[in-house]
Point group: C2
Chain length 242, copies 2
DNA sequence: AAGTGGTCTAGACCACCGT
DNA sequence: CGGTGGTCTAGACCACTTT
């Protein structure tokens, strides 16, 4: 029948946890269809209504997509999705445009204490470190530094000096099985350092928007740190409060 | 039975709209209890499950609060709620502290074209204009300019020069029947103007985080514009992406 | 004890999609 | 057409709060 019961959480929450685990472990691959609701209900020994409520939770967290008449699918990190949910920068008129990337540096190093801490690693752990510039409509307005734990991204490397249009989160999922589920950002205004100012074509000391992000995977473990510097002469960071 | 049917939306959505309308129009006052689910179902001629789904939608949008064993209540803008949902500034250690306010200017003026546009008003419409400083833990780190349409806030005024601890959104709801349901923010980094720098105890040209907000009421009409300038020496703006 | 929202079930029927 | 998710119903029972 079901092995769920000796757990104090509601049945639908336990069901959601089981399904979520299957997605996280790759039992159902990104993009693939999961069984119909009645099948899941029978397999897990709960009523269809309970499965429905569980799927509703996964859908709200964007782990699955349900399409009437077609089925329910494990969410895949498409460029559109990454762009829409995880890229909060628009032009002044509110237009969202896909940026391109130009990798400046990509290296694997031993983490300093300061680098290790935000990712929950021990000092000295292997870390990939990336620096890149991003262009929107041809203008370099973003500088980005990214840190990735080697343990989660074995052999990670990006081609230095080449133009990239793919979103990194699509690549993380496709090449390393890491799905970014959510992120926390802390914003500040800073004065541009000389080298960063040069890369962005600004005066030293020009105001820049600094966006410090920690991104988490499906199990809510921190898997990426990135610090973005944005020239807000022609762009804005947007947020919705509700 | 029910007057809902000749509408293509699902029953639960129509039910949600009816209940939402009652809240927006003040038929049920903020803080008051609304009838039990079975009563609503009987009154509206739908099943209890449909009412439940409608209430679920209102709860997600934080228009109501449901408490098991007690009842369902129209959400009131408490200071805690305003602080938690609409105040995204924390200290560097992540601590959230309630700011106090010091009103510098409060006047009623005719809107310029630039002031009228974001609020969807005609140029020349009456507008309340407020400028205030906000202190966190005794330190002045925030400057704020606020614009309110006179039509929605008749007779609005704040005491200049006195310390305020109440959140404005609590006051909007209590004194003017305006409930803020959501807000959009656009962020940029700017260089401090001479007078603003003076008020914050900074050098002219110091980087400041500019937060431009439009706040919307229950019917999704823009009712407040505010521009916040934050000194990010000791504070951060936080955002969650999911 | 009475009254409230929360959970869980079972089933009918609708709307949409692909073949 | 068969299969999928979406809607709607009706009712039993549980957990919590107040009297």
């Amino acid at each position: 029948m079901n092995a769920l019961r000796p757990d104090s959480r509601p049945l639908y929450a336990q069901t959601e946890a089981i399904l979520m685990r299957r997605i996280a472990e790759g039992f159902w691959a990104p993009g693939s269809m999961i069984p119909p609701e009645p099948d899941l209900a029978a397999e897990l020994g709960v009523s269809p209504g309970t499965v429905r409520k569980a799927l509703g939770g996964l859908e709200r967290r964007r782990l699955i997509e349900r399409r009437q008449g077609r089925g329910t699918f494990v969410a895949a990190h498409t460029s559109e999705r990454a762009l829409f949910h995880f890229f909060r920068i628009t032009a002044l008129d509110g237009q969202r445009r896909a940026p391109t990337s130009h990798v400046l540096e990509c290296a694997t190093v031993a983490a300093s204490a300061e680098e290790a801490q935000p990712l929950g690693l021990a000092a000295g752990a292997a870390l990939h470190r990336v620096k890149r510039a991003r262009l929107i409509a041809g203008a370099a307005c973003i500088l980005e530094r990214i840190w990735l734990p080697e343990a989660r991204f074995p052999g990670f490397a990006l081609p230095v000096g080449r133009e990239m249009t793919d979103e990194l989160y699509v690549l993380y999922q496709r090449d390393h099985g890491v799905t970014i589920a959510r992120a926390e950002e802390r914003l500040a205004a800073i004065a541009a350092a000389p080298d960063d100012a040069g890369l962005l074509g600004l005066e030293e000391g020009a105001p820049l928007l600094e966006i410090a992000r920690i991104a988490f995977d499906l199990q809510d473990r921190p898997v990426e740190r990135r610090v973005t510097l944005l020239d807000t002469a022609a762009h804005r960071y947007i947020a919705n409060l509700d």
